[in-house]
C-alpha cells in the first residue's frame, strides 16, 4: 500500500514537472550570452570549435571545477578502498587465472596503440574538431581497460599515474595563475591566438585541453585499476 502511494505521488510530481518542461520552447532564440559566445569565439579567440572555447575559456572556471570533481572521485575511491589494493599480489588466484584467448590478446596488442593515438588526436585537436580533453582522455582509458581485461597480470603503475595526474592538474591551474602573474585575469589567454583552424591557434585553450586529456586519462585508468582489484578481493573473501 505504502509503495502504491509513493508511486502515485511520484507520478503526480513527474506529470507536473514534465508539463513545465514541455513549456520550454525548443530552438527558439532566447539566448543572451550564447550569442556573444558564437560571435567572440571565432573572431576574438580564433577558435574553430565554439564548444571548446565555451568549455575552456568562457566557462573555463567551471571546467577547472569539473576536473577537480573527477580528481575527488578518484581520490575518494582510492581512500575508501585503498587497503584492499594490497591484495594485488601474485598469490591471488584470480591473477593466476588464464589470460583471454590468443585472438583477443593479439587484437588487443594491435588495437591499444591505435586507441591511444585516437585519444591523443581527439584532445590535441580539441579546439579544431569535435571532441576535446574529456573525450580524448576517456578514449585512452578505454585502451587501458582493454589491456586490463585481456591480460590478467597487467597492472598500471600508480606512482606514474600520480605524477601524470599531478603535472596535468598543475598545468591547468598553473596557467590560470600565470595569467594573474602577467597582470591579466585568471585563466585569461596570454598567448598569441594565431590563425583560426591552425593547430597552433587559440592561445592557452589547446594547452589546457591537452592537460585535461592527460588528467582524465590517468584518473579514469587509476579508477578502473582500483575497481578491478577490488573485484579480485571480494572473490577471494568468498573462497575463504
Amino acid at each position: 500500500m505504502k509503495k502504491i502511494i509513493i508511486i502515485l505521488l511520484l507520478a503526480v510530481i513527474g506529470y507536473f514537472l514534465a508539463d513545465i518542461f514541455f513549456e520550454i520552447p525548443f530552438g527558439e532564440d532566447s539566448m543572451v550570452v550564447s550569442k556573444e559566445y558564437l560571435d567572440k569565439s571565432p573572431n576574438d579567440l580564433h577558435v574553430a570549435n565554439t564548444v571548446t572555447s565555451i568549455v575552456v575559456n568562457f566557462r573555463g572556471f567551471d571546467t577547472l571545477g569539473e576536473v577537480t570533481v573527477l580528481f575527488l572521485a578518484s581520490t575518494a575511491i582510492g581512500s575508501i578502498l585503498f587497503r584492499r589494493r594490497k591484495v594485488h599480489t601474485k598469490l591471488n588466484p584470480q591473477r593466476n587465472a588464464p589470460h583471454a584467448s590468443r585472438i583477443v590478446q593479439i587484437s588487443a596488442k594491435i588495437l591499444f596503440p591505435l586507441i591511444v593515438l585516437l585519444g591523443a588526436y581527439v584532445f590535441i585537436h580539441g579546439h579544431l574538431t569535435p571532441g576535446g580533453g574529456f573525450q580524448g582522455g576517456v578514449i585512452i582509458a578505454t585502451g587501458y581497460l582493454l589491456l586490463l581485461v585481456t591480460y590478467r597480470k597487467f597492472s598500471v603503475s600508480h606512482s606514474s599515474l600520480t605524477w601524470i595526474e599531478a603535472i596535468a592538474g598543475v598545468t591547468f591551474a598553473g596557467i590560470g595563475v600565470l595569467g594573474l602573474i602577467l597582470g591579466k585575469d585568471f585563466l585569461e589567454n596570454f598567448l598569441p591566438v594565431g590563425t583560426i583552424n591552425n593547430l597552433f591557434s587559440g592561445g592557452i585553450i589547446g594547452i589546457i585541453y591537452v592537460a585535461v586529456g592527460f588528467k582524465v586519462a590517468s584518473e579514469l585508468t587509476g579508477i578502473l585499476d582500483t575497481m578491478l582489484s577490488i573485484k579480485v578481493d571480494s572473490e577471494e573473501n568468498e573462497q575463504n
Binding site: 513549456e23 520550454i24 550570452v33 577537480t68 575527488l72 585503498f82 595526474e165 585575469d185 585568471f186 589567454n189
Partner: protein
C-alpha cells in the same frame, strides 16, 4: 600582480591539492606543513580583501578569463560573502592545527585527508563567492564529493552506510538544482546571478515557481533543512571528530548561504521568505526534540547543529534588518561554538565503543580541560550570559519582537529550555556522576588543546565585548539586503534594462 585576490581562494587550494602527492615524494612531512601554509595565506588574503571592502564600501568583483559579467564567470567578495569566506578560511586553519597529528602513522591516509580538507574548504568558499549560478552548482559538487569520502574515512560499516546515504541524497539534490538552473536558463538565457535577479520578473509565473521550488529543495538538502536532513546526523556522527567541525562550520555554511542567496537575491518573492521562516521553525522544533532523546554524544551534537540551522533559517526568514543581523551573529556563533563542541566532544568519547553519553560520566576530573571547554561550549550554545551565544539569541528575540512575532519568541524560548535540558544532562554527567572506570580517558594532544582554547577565548571575548564584531554583522546584513546595489556592482553600468 595583485597579492590578494578572491580567485586565490579557489585557485591555490586546487593547485596545492594537485601538487600534494608530489610534495609527499620529496619529504613526508610536507603533506602536513603545506596545507597549513595555504590556510595561513587564505586568512591573509581575507584580511587584505576585507579591509579593502570596508574602506571602499563596495564589493570586489573579480572577472575570470577576461570576460565581464554576464558573459564570463565572476566572483563577488562583498561584506556578506567575504565575511562567510573569512569564517570558513579561519576554521580551515583551526581544523588543520587540530588534526596536524591526525593519522600520523599512515602516509597514504593522511595525504588524502589533507587533500580532502583543502578541497572542501575551497569548494565552500567558492560557493560563497561565486556570482554565477552554474558555477555555484559546480562548487556544491566539489563540497559534496569531498564530504562523502570524509564521512567514510574510517572505512567501517556504519561510516560506509552514512556516506552512501549522503551520496544518494546529495545526488538527488544535484538533480533538483540542475533542473532548476535549466528552467532559469531556458527562460532568461543567462547564468549570471545579478542578471537573473534583475530579469526574474520576465519569467512566466508557473516556470518561475517551479524553478524556485526545485532550487529550494536542492539547496535545502545541503543546508540540512527538515525533512531533507536525514543524511546529516549519520554523516556527523560517523565522520572523524574534526570533520564534524568541518561540516558545521563549512559545508553547512555554504548550504545556508545558497538558500539565502536564492531567497534574498535571486527570487526575492514574499512567499520565499515565509517558506524559509516556516521550514526554519519546523527544522528547529523537530531537531531539538530529537536531540533530547539521543543517547550518543555525537548524534546529539548533530541534531543540535540541525536545530541551529533552523534558528538561522528563522532569522533570515523574518527578513528585517535586525533579524538578518541576528542571523549573521548566529551563523558566526554556530561555526565557533559547534566546532568547539565537536573538537572537545570527540576527545571525551575517544575510547568509548558506542560513543554513548553515559560513557563519559565523571570525566570532569579525568580530563579537566576538555570537559571544562565542552561545558563552556554547551553553556554558550544554549545562550547563557555572558557568552557569545547569549547575544545572538537576544538579538534574534528582539528582532522577532520588533516584527510582532510573539508566538515565535515563545517558541524559541521553549526550545531553548529543551536545549538546556539535554546539554546540562551531559555537563551534569561530566561533573556530578561517578567515573565508571570502563573507558580510559584520552588526553588531547597539545595542538588540539590549543585550538579548543582559541575557540573558547573567542566565545568569551565576543560574549564580553560583542561590539568588537557587531559592526561586521551590520555591514554584512546591509550588503545582503541591498539587492539593487549588488546588481549595479556586478553588471556593467551601460547594461540594458538596469533601473
Amino acid at each position: 600582480m595583485v597579492v590578494a585576490n578572491p580567485i586565490l581562494y579557489v585557485a591555490l587550494p586546487l593547485l596545492v591539492a594537485f601538487l600534494l602527492p608530489l610534495f609527499g615524494k620529496i619529504h613526508k612531512e610536507l603533506i602536513r606543513v603545506v596545507p597549513g601554509l595555504l590556510f595561513m595565506f587564505l586568512i591573509f588574503n581575507t584580511v587584505v580583501l576585507f579591509s579593502e571592502v570596508t574602506s571602499t564600501g563596495k564589493p570586489i568583483i573579480t572577472q575570470i578569463a577576461g570576460w565581464a559579467p554576464p558573459i564570463g564567470i565572476n566572483l563577488v567578495f562583498s561584506a556578506f560573502s567575504g565575511f562567510i569566506a573569512g569564517i570558513i578560511s579561519i576554521m580551515g586553519l583551526l581544523v588543520w592545527v587540530y588534526s596536524y597529528k591526525f593519522k600520523k602513522v599512515e602516509f597514504d591516509n593522511s595525504l588524502k585527508y589533507f587533500v580532502l580538507i583543502m578541497l572542501v574548504t575551497a569548494g565552500s568558499i567558492g560557493v560563497v563567492l561565486t556570482g554565477d549560478i552554474f558555477n555555484l552548482f559546480v562548487f556544491l559538487e566539489i563540497v559534496a564529493l569531498s564530504s562523502y569520502p570524509l564521512v567514510a574515512f574510517y572505512r567501517g560499516r556504519d561510516g560506509a552506510e552514512a556516506s552512501f546515504k549522503y551520496l544518494i541524497v546529495g545526488a538527488f539534490a544535484s538533480i533538483a538544482i540542475l533542473l532548476g538552473i535549466v528552467l532559469i536558463y531556458s527562460q532568461l538565457g543567462t547564468l549570471n546571478m545579478a542578471e537573473i535577479s534583475l530579469r526574474i520578473g520576465e519569467m512566466p509565473e508557473k516556470i518561475k515557481i517551479t524553478a524556485f521550488i526545485l532550487l529550494f529543495l536542492g539547496f535545502g538538502i545541503e543546508a540540512e533543512m527538515f525533512p531533507l536532513n536525514g543524511w546529516a546526523p549519520d554523516a556527523y556522527s560517523q565522520a572523524p571528530g574534526p570533520v564534524g567541525a568541518v561540516f558545521a562550520s563549512m559545508t553547512a555554511k555554504a548550504g545556508i548561504y545558497t538558500i539565502i542567496r536564492l531567497v534574498f537575491t535571486l527570487f526575492d518573492i514574499d512567499a520565499g521568505y515565509q517558506l524559509l521562516l516556516g521550514m526554519g521553525i519546523i527544522t528547529l522544533v523537530v531537531s531539538e526534540g530529537i536531540a533530547l532523546r539521543q543517547e550518543k554524544l555525537k548524534r546529539m551534537l548533530a541534531f543540535s547543529s540541525l536545530g541551529q540551522m533552523g534558528l538561522l533559517m528563522i532569522a533570515f526568514g523574518i527578513n528585517t534588518k535586525a533579524a538578518v543581523v541576528a542571523g549573521m551573529f548566529i551563523l558566526f556563533n554556530h561555526a565557533v561554538i559547534k566546532s568547539l563542541l565537536f573538537f572537545s566532544g570527540s576527545y571525551l568519547v575517544y575510547n568509548s565503543e558506542n560513543k554513548n553519553i553515559k560513557d563519559l560520566f565523571g570525566f570532569g576530573k579525568k580530563l579537566p580541560l576538555t570537559a571544562f571547554l565542552f561545558g563552556l561550549g554547551a553553556f554558550a550554545i544554549v545562550g547563557l550570559p555572558p557568552l557569545s551565544g547569549f547575544w545572538a539569541k537576544l538579538s534574534l528575540l528582539m528582532a522577532s519582537a520588533d516584527s510582532n512575532l510573539i508566538a515565535l519568541i515563545a517558541l524559541i524560548l521553549i526550545v531553548s529550555v529543551v536545549e538546556i535540558v539535554y546539554y546540562f544532562r551531559v555537563v551534569n554527567g561530566l561533573y556530578f556522576k561517578k567515573y565508571t572506570g570502563e573507558f580510559e580517558p584520552h588526553k588531547p594532544s597539545w595542538n588540539a588543546s590549543l585550538v579548543m582554547l582559541i575557540l573558547a577565548a573567542v566565545i568569551v571575548t565576543v560574549g564580553l565585548y560583542p561590539d568588537l564584531i557587531y559592526n561586521y554583522f551590520v555591514n554584512a546584513a546591509d550588503a545582503l539586503m541591498d539587492k539593487a546595489n549588488y546588481i549595479q556592482n556586478v553588471l556593467p553600468s551601460n547594461f540594458v534594462g538596469l533601473n
